[in-house]
Assembly symmetry: C2
Homo-oligomer: 232 residues x 2
């Protein structure tokens, strides 16, 4: 692959501390590809042949069962996904598809596992990454189990606001139908949920959200660091 991406990838936490030679070896065996939107990169159940890294664009992780489908997460640059499957040499538990035109690095899982066995710093970095993934998954489970869809939406809005710098006006960067799926509801239900938040100081116009009463919204949403914080 092209040298030009090296530094971007290298600066990822997972690769930052590892040995130079090992990193070079990983990169030499990898591919970079450009994908148009809506391309299914991997399908759940398949063997995990490659560790993926999104360089640009974005990728949706989703799962299906019995004709139903749900969006599990959205991956933004620059980060890896399906690390756990790669390490365990186990089948993917989620499918992935590009949401927009995206540039993706594919590193053969075999290589990752080989270097994982050789390079202790890499192994330690992977621990950090997996622990983070695990904790994120637990938070997401708590969100689902402990909150109604209206509460999930309210907290989602607060999280996005925080991400965007705290302004009272924010933009939805995702399609509403996908947001609905991510929040575990139907598009129709999401439409009504937005209306249901009006009494708590939220108005929506297209993908522009206006928080007219921050305190009211927070009083209703009751955000918790143990569910909503990206860090911790």
């Amino acid at each position: 692959m092209l040298e030009s991406h090296y530094s971007d990838i290298r600066s990822l936490e997972v690769f930052a501390a590892m040995d130079d030679d090992q990193f070079e070896a990983l990169m030499r065996g990898s591919y970079v590809q450009n994908f148009p939107p809506q391309i299914e990169l991997i399908s759940e159940g398949e063997p995990s042949d490659f560790l993926h890294i999104v360089l640009s664009g974005s990728v949706d992780l989703f799962s299906s069962w019995n004709g139903r489908e749900t969006s599990m997460a959205t991956i933004h640059p620059i980060s890896t996904f399906i690390l756990a499957a790669t390490i365990k040499d186990a089948p993917y538990l989620m499918s992935a598809r590009t949401l927009e035109k995206s540039r993706v690095v594919l590193i053969p899982s075999q290589d990752v596992r080989a270097i994982f066995m050789r390079d202790a710093e890499f192994a330690r970095a992977i621990v950090g990454e997996l622990a983070q993934c695990y904790r994120t998954a637990i938070k997401s489970t708590k969100d689902l189990r402990l909150r109604t869809s209206l509460e999930r939406l309210a907290n989602y809005i607060l999280r996005q606001q925080k991400r965007a710098g705290g302004s009272a006006k924010i933009e939805l960067l995702t399609e509403k139908r996908r947001l609905a799926s991510y929040l575990g509801m139907t598009p129709e239900n999401l439409s009504r949920a937005f209306k249901g938040l009006v009494p708590y100081g939220v108005t929506v116009n297209g993908n522009r959200i206006h928080i007219t009463d921050q305190e009211d919204l927070e009083r209703f949403a009751k955000p918790s660091p143990l569910i909503d914080d990206y860090r911790t």
Copy 2:
């Protein structure tokens, strides 16, 4: 702590490959305690001072928010819990309480982190453990998002049956109210769900479950290795 537990703990995947000296050091700094039932061992939000290992009995991991509470998992001997928090030196995301009289090892998190930094084999073993935890969490999320409570119960029964060796008659080893919480529903709803499974070949009496029509139940439950398998 007493030598007698060493071998049990040592045989855990996380500790199996690590250096003898390191293992000794870990054990020297640790405590073993007996707890009566219903004791809260840790509370979510607290700093993670100890890595815990259940030697006997069982422990419930649960979470609360806004007056609601949900059971997230049950830990059986012999296994660790809250490893991710220990490694990240981050607050617990879940609380834990004994379900019965239980014997628990407490290893100071500092020690675990120190040895994690020193012993590469330990670090690699932790990767395996965390990847497993992560994948289990993903499966649980899929179960919640993609299935109705009736479907979750049906698949739970099939999983328990498999665990118990495949017999058509199995025992519920947990209180129904806790099972309900684990499955993400109310006790009342669980009662009705059991009745709702009668047409699919399941009858319940107390904590004895009888699968009268295996095929019918499986046709309804549609178990999937990507959600229901313990391994993979």
